[in-house]
């Protein structure tokens, strides 16, 4: 068999696998969005360039030191979720995994923003006490950001109304 034929025969599965990778990433997200549990987390947010950066609100107290990277999710009486404990072993129930082993960081910290939205959101988030929260979907430790809410509206709705 000619060398060129062999290379093309090898190239075909490579091409298919390469096309499958982005498709798989989309499928993963859709699966979590459709079948994952939904949680609301209060956040402190600020605008950096074209993204909203955020940390979980202080009341969630997620900056845990010590060993462990698994953050167990619990829901408070007001319906908002928080990280109840950080463990070295996978906990029962829904949990998120920190990038850092030994100091827990919530795995999400950014929400990309439309350029036109910058001014309106920047002013609003600069006001101390603005009510902000995110909704996420969690399934088997996989977590995806659904929406970011400002004063009870999604950030997109808020921008459209201003």
């Amino acid at each position: 068999m000619k060398k060129k034929t062999v290379i093309i025969m090898l190239l075909i599965p490579v091409i298919l696998a390469q096309l499958a990778v982005p498709m798989f990433l989309i499928h993963e997200k859709n699966d979590v969005i459709r079948n994952g549990s939904q949680y609301k987390f209060r956040i402190s947010a600020w605008v950096v360039g074209n993204t909203i950066s955020f940390d979980l609100n202080d009341s969630n107290n997620t900056m845990f030191g010590g060993p462990g990277k698994y953050g167990k999710i619990a829901v408070a009486d007001d319906g908002f979720a928080y990280i109840s404990e950080v463990t070295a072993e996978k906990p029962a129930g829904d949990y998120v995994v920190s990038e850092n082993d030994g100091y827990f960081y919530f795995p999400l910290s950014e929400y990309s923003l439309n350029e036109k939205a910058y001014d309106a959101v920047f002013k609003k988030l600069s006001n101390y006490g603005t009510d902000c929260y995110i909704t996420v979907r969690v399934k088997n430790s996989r977590i995806y950001l659904e929406n970011l809410f400002v004063d009870g509206m999604t950030v997109e709705q808020y921008v459209a109304g201003n």
Partner: protein
Amino acid sequence: MTNKKLLKEISAWERENIITPDAADTLRERYSAGGKNTLITIFSILGSVLIGTGVVLLFATNWKNMSLTAKTLVSFLPLVIGQCLAVFTVARKYGSTLFRESAAILYTAGIFATVAMISSSFRLGTRSEIYVLICALMCLPVIYLLDAVSPLIVYYAAVIFWGIDTLRSSASFSGFGLLVIFILLGMLFSFITGKKSEFSSARYTYTLWLSVAASFFIVVALAQALDANLMSLFLGYFAIIFAIAGLDSDYSSPFRTVGSIGCMVIIFIFSINRSWDNDDDPISSLLCLALTVIFAAAAVIISVIRQREDIFKLIFVIGGAISSVIVALVGFFGVNNGFFVSVAVNIILIAMAIGFIARGAIKTEMITTNIGLVTAGGIIAARIIDDNIDIVIKSLVFIAMGSALLLVNRSLLKKKRSAVIELPEVDEK
């Protein structure tokens, strides 16, 4: 036979299957105007990068106004274009290095662009180190199948970025093991490229430099995995690299250059008194000490096998290996007064610098002499900058060092020229 005619003949032999496309490539590389060919390849790669960037920017300007379906379709476009180009190149232009390299670069850019655009459109929130790793692993078969060396730098950079970032946030040996495997996969390609050209082509030299640079990051990652300061290990590593060079005296090969300069730089760092006063990051683990000893032993064994006929190189490696173990031992047991250790290291460094100067002068190797001179100058400069010496004296010392550098180089150049003139004429008959 003129080169032009020979090149035509090579194409004919390839068409008639007298020689393989690889052999044809090697012959073309050998008999075409080398410099011109390399330049054309570089400009073709640059052109491909510019085209790729332009296409991505064109879509990026209208990105916000597109529907999700349109965004998805457009996102896949760079990847599909790269794939079509690759198939075309393999089918029609596989013999052309220019085509293979350009297609591979466009293909690589397409992979990165597609994954980035999909990630952004669907708000996948993929972490940057995971994103680059996914793209690097998608690029690897392209490098092998298109036999293209240019995307190797992208591959190495991506896996190293992933490895260092992952190990910094969460030190683990499984992460380190994976990084080693990924880097070895790149090195394997370098070896295959070398084998095709009997380890003598410019393409192989390029991949070799990249592979040696990547191997340094294995040691960096090991330091991350062990969560320790491993300067002594770096010294052992550079001694190994120098030993691998064997009797090869060619500085275009990375082993001798990286090995000698690396050793000198690390020892130079330890010659500074302040480096011993830093208690924040001690070499405290027994494992680090053990690894340093293993590295040092490996360097000496390799040197004995490969460099026993060259006593200077053997002494250099043994000196580097012993220094690394001393540094590790001092770090492990602690040091009450760094001054005496740094004085000892200064003496070792000065001895090495003198050795380099002498070796260069005897063998008429200007680079070797210059490494020695720069090291000696560096030691003097570092010491007089450290101390409160009068500015006039400092200036005079710098002038003297500069003059010595110029004079030695001038006399070496003269010696080299006279050696060339004395060569007997070759009878062309």
